[in-house]
Symmetry: C2
Subunit: 226 residues, 2 copies
Amino acid sequence: MTSRKILDTKYRISETAMALFLKEGYANVTVEAVADASSVSRRTVFRYFASKDELVFPDHTERLGLVERCLAAAPEGTDPVDAVIMATEESLREFLSRPELVLRRYKLTRIVPELRRREVVEHERYVALTRSYLRDHLPPDAPPFQPMALAALIDAIHRSALGNWVREGGATDPEAELAAGMEWVRRMMMHQSAFSSAPLLLAVLPDTPQTRQVLTSLKAAGQELP
Amino acid sequence: MTSRKILDTKYRISETAMALFLKEGYANVTVEAVADASSVSRRTVFRYFASKDELVFPDHTERLGLVERCLAAAPEGTDPVDAVIMATEESLREFLSRPELVLRRYKLTRIVPELRRREVVEHERYVALTRSYLRDHLPPDAPPFQPMALAALIDAIHRSALGNWVREGGATDPEAELAAGMEWVRRMMMHQSAFSSAPLLLAVLPDTPQTRQVLTSLKAAGQELP
DNA sequence: ACAGTAAGTGACACTCAGTGCCGCTCATCA
DNA sequence: TGATGAGCGGCACTGAGTGTCACTTACTGT
C-alpha cells in the first residue's frame, strides 16, 4: 500500500466524520457510525486516529513537521525571532491551502467544547516547538521568560489572523494581518534592544514644514531599522 | 450540608487521587480505586469532578472566579493592561497559597501527557477571560490582534514565573519574576503608544557632561512614564 | 418535638471510547 | 507459484462517564 493511498483514506475518513458531526452533532455520532459511513471498520478508524476528536485535525502532524523543518532550515546567522516568524508565515500558508477543511473545522470548534479544547492543545504543541527553538537560539542574557513569551505572542497573532479570516468567511487578508502583527513584534524587540540603548543625537534645525517632514521620516526609520 | 464541608470533601478526594496517581501511575488508577480510597462512591466522584483528569485541578474554578472578580473590580479609569496585570498577580498569589498542591501537580503534569494537556486547557480558559476583557476595554483603534496577543503574552510570563518556581522546588521569587516580565510588557506598550507617537521636541543645548546627563535621564523617563 | 421538603449520596445499569489479539487477505518479490 | 509482510476486520474486554431511583441526612415551618 503506497503512503499516498493511506493519506487519501485518512482524509476521506476525516471528511465523512466532519460532515456527520456538523449534521447530527458531535456527541450523537459514534465512532462506529463514522466507520460505517466511511466503509471501514471501527478498528481501522482508530488505526488512523488516536482518538475521536483527532478526526477533526487530520493535518496537525504534517504541519508540525513543516514548522520543524522550517526552523531547522533557517540559516545560521538568522535572528531567531525572524526564523520563528518565517516558520509561522509558512504554517499560515499551509492552513490556507486547505480552506474548506479550516472553515468546516472552525464551525465545529465553535459549537463543540471538546473540539475547541483539542484545538487549544494542538496549538500548544506548536508553541512548545517554537519555544524550545527560542530557548536554544536566543542570546543567553535575555530575560528567562522571553522564549515562552515570544512563542505565545507569535502564536496568538497567528491565531488572531487566522481566526478573523475564518470568521469573515475568507474575506480578509490573513497574511497581511500576520505580517502587520509580526512587524509589531519586531518593533517591540527592537525598542527593547537597539533603539532604547542607542545614544541620543542632537540637531538644530529651522522649524519649517520640510524639516518636520524629515524628522517624521527619521523617526519612522528609527523604528524600522536596528 | 454546608458549602465548606462540600469543599473539604472535594479537596480530600483530590488529594487521595493525586497521591494514588503519583504512586501507581495515572493510567493504572481507576476512578473506582480513587472512590474507594476516599470512602465515597464512584458516582460521587463524578459529582465533584466532571472527568478523571479534573481530579488534579480542584482549584481552577475558584481561581477563574477570582480573576473575574479582580477584573470587574478594577476602577473605571484603570489602564486595561494594568488591570489584567494586577489580576494575574492576584492569581499567582492564589497559586502560591497552595504550594503543596502546585508542586505535586507539577510532578504529575510532567509525567502524564493527558494531565499536561488538561493544564493547557485550564490556562486557555484564563486567557480567554482576560482576552475578552481586553477586547472590551482596549481603545478601539488598537490593532485587532492586540487583545489576544497581550492576553497570551501575560499568561506566558505568568506561566514562566510559576514554572521556574516549581522547577526549582520553591527556591525562586516568582512574584518578582512576574513583576519584571510585566514591566517589560508595560514598556513595550508605552513605546508603541506614547513614546513613538509623541511629537518630537527640539532643544538646543551646549554639549557638556551635565547636559548629556540630563538627556540620559530624560530618555529613561520617556521609557518609564507615559 | 414533628412532619415535610430539599439536597447529597449510593447502587445499578447502560453507552461508548479506546485497546489487545488473532486470523484473513492481498500486494510484492523471489 | 509459493512465501512474506503489511494492512484490515472482527471480537472481546476495560474503564470513563451518564441517567435513574431509592435512601438518608439536614434544614424548614408549625
